[in-house]
Point group: C2
Chain length 144, copies 2
Amino acid sequence: MKFKKMLVPAMRKITCIRMFIVTVICCLITSFFTNASAQNGQRFMRVARIVVDSAQLDDYKAALKEGMESAVRTEPGVLSLYAVYDKEEPTHVTVFEIYLDEDAYKAHIQTPHFKKYKSTVQNMVKSLELSDVSPIALEAKSKL
Amino acid sequence: MKFKKMLVPAMRKITCIRMFIVTVICCLITSFFTNASAQNGQRFMRVARIVVDSAQLDDYKAALKEGMESAVRTEPGVLSLYAVYDKEEPTHVTVFEIYLDEDAYKAHIQTPHFKKYKSTVQNMVKSLELSDVSPIALEAKSKL
C-alpha cells in the first residue's frame, strides 16, 4: 500500500513529463514543416506587375491590401501574397503570389473579394503584366 | 498527514496541467508572430530581375540555389529569398528578397557565399535590374 502511494505520484510525474515532451516534439515538427514545405515545387505561382494611376495610388493600395487579406484569411489554397511598390517609382507594384495548386488559383479568381478588388481597381490600373512562374528555390526562415 | 498525502499528488497534477497550458500558449504565441511579423513594414526588401544566358541556365540556377540556401541557413538577417523563372521565358529570373533590415542586407553582400555566387555567375548574367521596394501588404499563412 505504501509502495502504491509512492508509485502514483511518480507515475503522474512521468505522465506529466511525457505530455510535455510530446507537446514540444509536436511544436518542433510543425516548425520543421513550416520551413521545409516552402521548398515544395508543386505550388502554382505567379508574379503580377502593375502600373497604377498615380492620382489613385492610395485607393489602389487600400483595395489591394483588403483583397489580399480576405484571400489569405478565408481561402485555404491561397498560401502567400506579397505586394510591394518600387521606392523610386511608387506607381510600379509587384505582387508575388503562391497558391496551393492551379485549382486553388482558379477558385481564388471566382471569390467575391477578388471580384470586388477587380471592379474597384478597374479604372486605377494603367497596365497589368501577369507571368506564370516556376520556383528555382524558395528559402525562408519560419519567422518573417 | 493524510490530507498532505492527498494534497501532494493533486498539486503535482495542477503543476503538470499548468506546464502543459503554458507550453500550448507559448506555441500559439509563436504561431501568431510567425504570421503577424510578416506584416512588419520595417524589413529591407528588394526585387531582382535577371536575364540569364540560355546556354548556362542550369548552371546559373544551381549557383543561385546554393547561394540562397547558405544565406537563409547561416545569416540571421536573411529572412526570405524566393527565386522563380518565367514559364514562357525561362531565362527571365525574379528574386524576391526580404532582409531583417538594411544592415542585414549589407552584411549579406559581404559573405563568402554571396561573393562566390557573384563570381560564379558573372559571365552567365545578361542583365540585372535591382529595385528597392516597400511593402503594401505581406500576407502569408504560417505554413507554405
